[in-house]
């Protein structure tokens, strides 16, 4: 599904290398987790994959189902099936949440040569999905993320994911700032989407989320590299001993 090879990334404006050779393959139907200390490059990886400005890929490649991601505009990546749940969802005053989602959904459908979804169908769908995530009608009407609490923003990301039904979902610290109940909702939302055809890359700090979303593989990222890969128990190890001993281990 997602194949990242030897990815090197620097900042565009300053001569600073952030990713120093990342190799990672997420197969369809699998959930991979990335853990790692702050500043290790996890968000940078997710941004580079989704096409944000400001980064220069100096070496390596990233493909989605064989298609070169790095050569596409962000909207093309989305239409190709890539989705990033942002660590910090953006507030957009003046654009209604519903309008936003409908525009996005129909833009993707159009790009894929599918018919647009009509208003009635869309409403029915969004109401059902919102209900599962405990998102009320008022939140759907409000401008995108404006005045939302941290937890509401994260749930809104998952709602978007559920509506857009991407093939490859990247979740960047979707659990941070969530209480136990909200985390459960988010995890249920993700698990509902799990099927044989979809890949997940779950970036998180804490093992907590991984109790609810069982990963197939866990990667530890430090200083722009994946320094260790293991099964679900690797997350437990991090939880108990922190990153320090892992870092020492590789050093």
């Amino acid at each position: 599904m997602l194949e990242i090879k030897n990815l090197h990334v620097s900042l565009e404006t300053e001569d600073k290398q952030i990713l120093k050779g990342v190799d990672l393959t997420v197969e369809a139907g699998k959930v991979h987790a990335i853990m790692g200390p702050n500043g290790s490059g996890k968000s940078t990886l997710s941004y580079v994959l989704s096409g944000r400005d400001g980064y220069a890929v100096t070496e390596g490649s990233a493909t989605l189902e064989g298609a070169d991601l790095l050569d596409m505009e962000p909207e093309e990546r989305a239409a190709a099936g890539l989705f990033l749940a942002f660590q910090y969802p953006v507030e957009i005053p003046g654009v209604g949440n519903m309008t936003f989602l409908r525009t996005a959904l129909n833009a993707q459908r159009k790009a894929r040569g599918q018919d647009e979804m009509n208003a009635t169908e869309f409403l029915k769908l969004i109401r059902a999905k919102a209900k599962e995530l405990n998102i009320d009608a008022d939140m759907l009407k409000r401008p995108v993320n404006v005045g939302f609490s941290g937890g509401e923003k994260k749930r809104n990301e998952i709602l978007q994911m559920a509506m857009l039904e991407p093939k490859m979902c990247i979740l960047d610290e979707t659990d941070s700032g969530l209480d136990v109940d909200a985390m459960k909702l988010v995890a249920d939302g993700v698990n509902a989407l799990r099927d044989g055809g979809r890949g997940f890359l779950v970036i998180t700090h804490y093992q907590r989320l991984l109790d609810h979303i069982k990963p197939d593989l866990v990667h530890i990222m430090a200083d722009g590299r994946i320094i260790k890969t293991g099964g679900a128990d690797l997350a437990l190890e991090v939880e108990q001993h922190g990153y320090a001993h892992l870092l020492e281990e590789v050093a």
Binding site: S50, E75, A78, V90, V95, A107, Q108, L164
Partner: protein, 426 residues
């Protein structure tokens, strides 16, 4: 003080090509206005009040030609039930207009209201004079003196539908001068709509008297012909507990100067003046607003938003004057521009002058580009860049459009903006 010779010459050259309509009740006001105009002289490039906007083409004897827009799209407010009045290049079009009768309002044409005694005589040119007190507005005096027609609208009740004035532009060299007087009686309420490019050059004045407890809603769109020019004035006087809300959408036009002069003379009155403009290329839009608080506990609100691209220019001059004794004044003013490229510019001069101590006044002016974070967020969800830019642009203007009370009219305005954005997509 004697006027500089160039100003004198320019003024006389302009007057020379105009004819003052004679006879009837307006003659006195017209003659006085002409004298006023000669004293002030027409605006010139050096005038402080015209610092950001060159008045030359508004002043010169003949207007620069303005090509006609291909009117394939439907006119604004088409779907709204209304009393329709049409002027073509400033000339009343009886055929295209509805019968001017509507319950709760009497409507006459300035050119035909020739009786010696007319209710409008106490207002025609009179609110304009009051508006000249702080700053000279010579184009308004010229209008009072030489207006060829206009509407005298006396609102006595609550008309069931809006009064709509459509200005069509049919000749590439037309030069139109229209003057409306609107009097809203105590407790009465009406909506006035205006739309259209009007003429190659349009000088329009609207004097508005809103009596105690009365309400007037004013929504206009200034259309689309790229080369047209306009100088408009609204002079409004508000009585106690009255409401006046005015919104303007300006799309295209080489030059538009909209002056709004409001006097809050009765306690607890409320005035909202808002504007959205979208300009692409050869476009200068100037909002010049002057609000005087001369009563207790009044609210004034100004919300102006401009979207500029390809070298378009936006100007905002807005002043709130709070006179001594106008306690509990609530004055708010915001002017913002969204610059879609580096060639476009926004020039703003917000002013507060306050002589009362118990007031709350605020003003802010900003100029910015598209929010890159928001743009990326939208694109990452699959919205193509041009569409995402349009969505954010519409969102930027939404705060001004939200000042329109009537939801259908607000929707109508939003549709106009959307259509413009699609036509002008990068």
């Amino acid at each position: 003080m004697a006027l500089p010779q160039t100003k004198l010459d320019a003024t006389e050259a302009r007057i020379a090509v105009l004819d003052m309509p004679r006879g009837g009740w307006s003659t006195t006001a017209r003659t006085a206005a002409l004298a006023r105009l000669r004293e002030m002289g027409l605006p010139g490039r050096r005038d402080e009040y015209w610092r950001f906007t060159r008045p030359d083409t508004l002043v010169q004897p003949e207007p620069p030609a303005a090509a006609l827009f291909d009117p394939r799209e439907t006119a604004a407010f088409d779907a709204i039930d209304k009393l329709k009045i049409v002027f073509v290049d400033g000339v009343f079009d009886a055929e295209a207009s509805d019968d001017l009768t509507l319950e709760g309002v009497t409507i006459e044409r300035l050119a035909e209201a020739s009786s010696d005694l007319h209710w409008a005589a106490s207002l025609y040119g009179q609110l304009e004079i009051r508006g000249q007190a702080a700053v000279p507005r010579p184009l308004a005096a010229l209008n009072t003196a030489f207006a060829t027609d206009g509407l005298l609208i006396h609102v006595t009740g609550k008309p069931s539908k809006p009064i709509s004035i459509s200005y069509r532009h049919a000749s590439e060299t037309s030069d139109a001068i229209l003057h409306h007087v609107v009097k809203v009686d105590a407790g009465a309420e009406a909506t006035i709509l205006e739309n259209g490019p009007a003429a190659a050059r349009f000088n329009k004045c609207m004097e508005v008297d809103v009596a105690d407890g009365a309400k007037l809603h004013h929504v206009r769109t200034q259309g689309r012909d790229h080369e047209r020019r306009a100088a408009t004035h609204v002079f409004a006087r508000l009585g106690a507990e009255s409401v006046f809300k005015s919104f303007t959408l300006t799309a295209n036009g080489a030059l538009t100067r909209n002056e709004v002069v409001i006097e809050l003379t009765g306690d607890d009155a409320l005035v909202h003046v808002a504007g959205a403009c979208v300009g692409d290329g050869d476009f200068l839009h100037d909002d010049t607003v002057f609000i005087t608080h001369d009563a207790v506990n009044c609210e004034s609100r100004q919300v102006f938003k401009k979207v500029l691209r390809n070298g378009a220019t936006g100007v905002f001059q807005g002043k709130i004057l709070v006179k001594a004794g106008a306690q509990k004044t609530d004055g708010y003013q915001i002017s913002q521009s969204l610059l879609l490229d580096e060639d476009s510019q926004f020039l703003a001069k917000p002013e507060l002058e306050i002589y009362a101590d118990d007031v709350a006044c605020s003003h802010g002016s900003t100029s910015g580009a598209i929010d890159e974070e928001a743009l990326f967020y939208l694109r990452s969800r699959g919205v193509p860049e041009p569409q995402a830019v349009n969505l954010l642009t519409l969102a930027f203007l939404a705060e001004a459009v939200a000042e329109i009370e009537d939801e259908r009219l607000a929707e109508e305005i939003t549709t106009r903006i959307e259509e413009w954005l699609i036509r002008h997509r990068s």
